[in-house]
Assembly symmetry: C2
Homo-oligomer: 146 residues x 2
DNA sequence: TTATAAATGGAAACTATTTCTGTTTATCCT
DNA sequence: AGGATAAACAGAAATAGTTTCCATTTATAA
């Protein structure tokens, strides 16, 4: 949380009530959220809250590393909290999201760093995102069925 | 090419002139194409050609494995020819696209097969797509600069 | 406190995608 | 070859996600 504010400050972003609320929202329930969902939830705290502002804020927070953009095929955008402290030296990483509780994990190992040659192609960039079951959800499953 | 028709037949898709043209288009220039771009190119051969039909065909061809869906962040869809013969036993694989010539390569090695545990998460599904420079584009680059 | 650039809401524009409907056509079966 | 049938088709219109624009407010630093 503190971390997020530092990232914002580094990027020259102001700390507005709207942004505090958005960050708190993503921290509380660690799931991916679409702009519409974010607006929906903001309306509990702010009577008026325009979608354009939500879009702007989500993009700004993704730009400075507080959120990351969830990739997919289709039209809807989606964001989630980047679990990783990127302030001291950004390192290459990806995310795995628990489909049960929404926990976001950091995937450090990546075979596709820039420059690596795979199947004859020199890799320039890549997209990787995982969905899975986290350790605690997994053990809860085992208990229930066993 | 023949391969594609068999995949379509397996899926119960009719072999229409529209679909033949779409497949030929993707085979000729091995780049990813948006529905709009596909329609644009179809207009050379067909006077009338509606976008809804293009959308339907691209989805149908992706469903049966002739094309694959290029992932990204945002609203625009994009497809490319799946290089891999999926008919005899579909195997897990991904794609790398040459950013210079559009060549699509098959990435066989994948550390994220279903069931694998990564950073404490049991992997259920994942998205992976690479962009790079293919061997021939790479050597052409070297020639030019050397 | 004051100056300033940034953030904001709302209306409206924009754009990608989907739905709907009536017509045409590929394919299968005589 | 001819007919039946489900699939494919175009085009118009609807839908939905996103962006632009502009006048007003506000966080931040001097
Ligand atoms: Mn990576
Ligand atoms: Mn894989
Ligand atoms: Zn979990
Ligand atoms: Zn190439």
């Amino acid at each position: 949380m503190k971390e997020a504010y530092l990232l914002m400050r580094d990027a020259g972003l102001k700390l507005t009530p709207r942004r505090q609320a958005i960050i708190a929202m993503f921290s509380d329930s660690r799931v991916q959220l679409s702009p519409q969902e974010v607006q929906e939830r903001l309306k509990c705290q702010f009577i008026r809250c325009g979608l354009p502002g939500v879009y702007r804020n989500l993009e700004a927070l993704a730009d400075c590393g507080v959120l990351f953009r969830v990739v997919g095929f289709g039209r809807e955008r989606s964001y989630a909290l980047c679990c990783c402290s990127q302030r001291d030296g950004v390192h290459h990483h990806h995310h795995v999201i628990c489909i049960s509780c929404g926990l976001v994990g950091q995937v450090e190992s990546c075979a596709y760093q820039e420059g690596v040659v795979i199947e004859g192609f020199r890799v320039v960039s890549h997209v990787l995102q995982l969905r899975g079951i986290c350790a605690s959800c997994s053990s809860r499953e085992t208990e229930a069925s066993g």
